[in-house]
């Protein structure tokens, strides 16, 4: 076991797995313990973990990763339509296609670095979005979005003699993927994604990516061709995005072009920065917080607020409701923006920096009052 991964990594992985699998329990008091939202937590967690491999390790900031997310969704839905309703072939197909697409876009965009790279990725993603909306309608079904119909060929299912009565839905070995089954399916992939990201970050290859972020010039004079390193990171993160997009199609088999829009690309950047760029856990937490806000705050309205503040005196309550209503419902972006600004100003390393600072604080106050036996242990 020891040569498979260092002990700290193993503990982190086990802890992460436990937290993820028990989410339906510990998120229930926060009103987020329902499968639909939990699935999204998993899916966007995967998206952010993958994005961090590019942005966090290599330092290349892509503003176009939603394109790969969208391609993953389309590829998965096409697999459902043409091959089989089973989820596994769809996922494989989606990851491969989005990987190829990322190879092409990455090859072109990585000819530049810094802001020019970011702008190029943004341009390609917007191009993909517009193509999906218009020219590529035969593949994407344009504005309506690509969906499953009873008349889809599904050659593999047909060959196996599996018919489907009524509206077709994705399955896993014959099991429907709705509700908690869908959540645990996605959770399995999030844990796997996390594990792979952990391995990459702890490998010589991962160290090279960090070195590229630190000093690309030195890398070149040290004998490394940095382009294929950056391109590999780009393709891997594109495949993660495709996997996330495919999972969204598994839980909700309708792929629309809006998934590729620049706002969606920007969202994953926010998730990563909010949680902590370059950390393993941070991007996942960032994704969860943003999706929580999006779903919970946007569902609040004046009536709910009035009930919430009803303990206040009438006049005061009216004012408070009026003010807080600006921050919920359609105004949830305002709250998100505020939280984002506060975190970036006070914790430039994101939420994970806050966690680290707290841990250091506890360790310091803990060690000053600790028994002598505890103090003999090494600091690390």
């Amino acid at each position: 076991m020891n040569n498979l991964m260092p002990r700290n990594d193993l503990f982190l992985l086990l802890g992460f797995t436990a937290v993820v699998l028990t989410m339906p329990i510990w998120l229930a008091p926060f009103g987020a313990g329902y499968p639909d939202l939990l699935q999204r937590f998993m899916i966007f967690g995967i998206f952010a973990v993958g994005f961090n491999i590019l942005f966090g390790l290599t330092g290349y900031l892509s503003f176009g990763h939603a394109a790969f997310f969208g391609v993953g969704s389309y590829a998965a839905v096409w697999s459902f339509k043409l091959l089989t309703l089973d989820a596994i072939p769809a996922m494989i197909f989606a990851v491969l296609i989005s990987g190829l697409f990322a190879l092409l876009i990455g090859f072109l965009c990585l000819r530049r670095s810094g802001i020019y790279f970011s702008i190029l990725t943004l341009a390609f993603a917007q191009m993909s979005y517009n193509l999906a909306y218009s020219v590529l309608t035969p593949i994407t079904n344009g504005e309506t979005g690509l969906q499953l119909t009873i008349n889809d060929p599904r050659v593999l299912d047909a060959a196996m003699g599996q018919g489907f009565a009524g509206q077709p839905v994705p399955t896993l070995l014959g099991q429907q993927m709705s509700g908690y089954a869908g959540f645990y399916f996605c959770a399995g992939f999030l844990i796997l994604s996390f594990f792979i990201a952990q391995r990459i970050a702890g490998s010589p290859f991962g160290m090279m990516l960090k070195a590229i972020k630190s000093n690309q010039t030195r890398m070149q004079f040290t004998g490394f061709n940095t382009r294929p390193y950056a391109l590999s990171a780009f393709v891997i993160s594109g495949m993660y995005a495709g996997l996330a997009g495919a999972l969204l199609a598994v839980t909700d088999p309708l792929a629309g072009a809006e998934r590729m829009q620049w706002t969606a690309s920007g969202e994953v950047v926010l998730m990563t920065i909010l949680g902590g760029v370059g950390t393993l856990v941070g991007p996942v937490i960032g994704a969860w917080i943003i999706k929580y806000f999006e779903n919970i705050l946007s569902a609040l309205n004046d009536n709910i607020l009035a009930r919430f503040w009803s303990f206040l005196p009438d006049g005061v309550a009216d004012v408070v409701v009026k003010v807080t209503s600006k921050f919920v419902g359609d105004g949830w972006h305002l709250t998100l923006g505020l939280v984002f600004v506060i975190i970036v100003i006070f914790l430039p390393g994101g939420i994970m920096e806050g966690v680290r600072r707290l841990a250091a604080l506890f360790r310091r106050s803990g060690s000053s009052s600790a028994k002598p036996s505890a103090r003999t242990q090494p600091a690390e």
Binding site: N3, L4, M5, P6, R199, I200, G202, S203, P204, F205, G206, M207, M208, K210, A211, K213, S214, N215, T217, R218, M219, Q220, F221, T222, G223, F224, N225, T226, P228, Y229, S232
Partner: protein, 254 residues
């Protein structure tokens, strides 16, 4: 006597920056296993010459040949893989990584080549490379700083670490751009000793240095550069006695 083996040949190189003729008609031959010093006043074109050799800048004309291979037109990483490493005038290091990792990275470049997709292998399993790097850090006297962030080192330590990063690759040709600048007298002497030790192992070196103590204790041959031209070339004693050099560079200080 056998013909001295020229390992690096800078042939008729010119470099212009707009109207500035930074290198004019440079012809330089460096013999295998020797230490060749390049001295000259500020702005003479010394660093520019190294930049042309390692492919950071293309020459305006002329070419650089290393052991029969034309370097001109090759990428910096290809030139490094041929066995040429460089210490920069302002340290080029991985400031966000630990000292140990800074030294392990070049060792991996030497072992695995310009690109390897070894992303499922654990860095902790690289015990050989790690031991090599620790050994190297011992040689330059920095083993106690192994786990520090490279960016937090003093200027002199950054330089020593950068030297370790180059030495661990066992390059055939080592280019040093003022390797002792910013070091204390004591560290300078340690570095000289270290460089002498490498010399006995047969590594060829080109060294740019302002510190005459360093130059005269290391160099087998000295070329003097002034305003982009080589104005004198020869053994340390020749150069020391050359009146042109006294005028252009030493300025009667000796």
């Amino acid at each position: 006597m056998a013909q001295p083996n020229v390992v690096l040949h800078v042939a008729d190189v010119h470099k212009r920056f707009g109207g500035l003729h930074a290198l004019a008609d440079i012809d330089l031959q460096v013999e295998e296993g020797k230490t060749h010093a390049i001295i000259g006043p500020n702005g003479a074109g010394k660093s520019t010459l190294l930049n042309v050799i390692i492919g950071k800048l293309p020459p305006s004309s002329g070419q650089v040949v290393f052991d029969g291979t034309v370097l001109t037109g090759r990428k910096p990483f290809q030139i490094n893989q041929l066995g040429i490493a460089r210490v920069f005038q302002t340290p080029e290091i991985f400031a966000d990584l630990s000292v140990l990792h800074n030294v392990m990275i070049p060792a991996l470049a030497k072992r695995d080549g310009m690109f390897t997709l070894n992303m499922l292998r654990s860095l902790d399993s690289e015990t050989g490379i790690r031991a090599e790097a620790e050994h190297m850090l011992e040689d330059v006297g920095m083993i106690n700083r192994r786990d520090m962030l490279a960016g937090s080192l003093s200027r002199g330590d950054k330089r020593r670490m950068e030297l370790a990063m180059c030495l661990i690759q066992h390059p055939r040709l080592l280019l040093l751009d003022e390797p002792t600048a910013g070091m204390s007298r004591h560290d300078t002497n340690t570095t000289i000793e270290l460089l002498k030790k490498i010399k006995s192992r047969g590594m060829t070196k080109v060294i740019i240095e302002h510190d005459m103590h360093v130059v005269f204790s290391l160099a087998d041959k000295i070329s003097v550069l002034a305003q982009g031209r080589i104005i004198a070339d020869g053994s340390p004693d020749d150069v020391r006695g050359n009146p042109k050099v006294q005028e252009a560079y030493l300025g009667g200080a000796h």
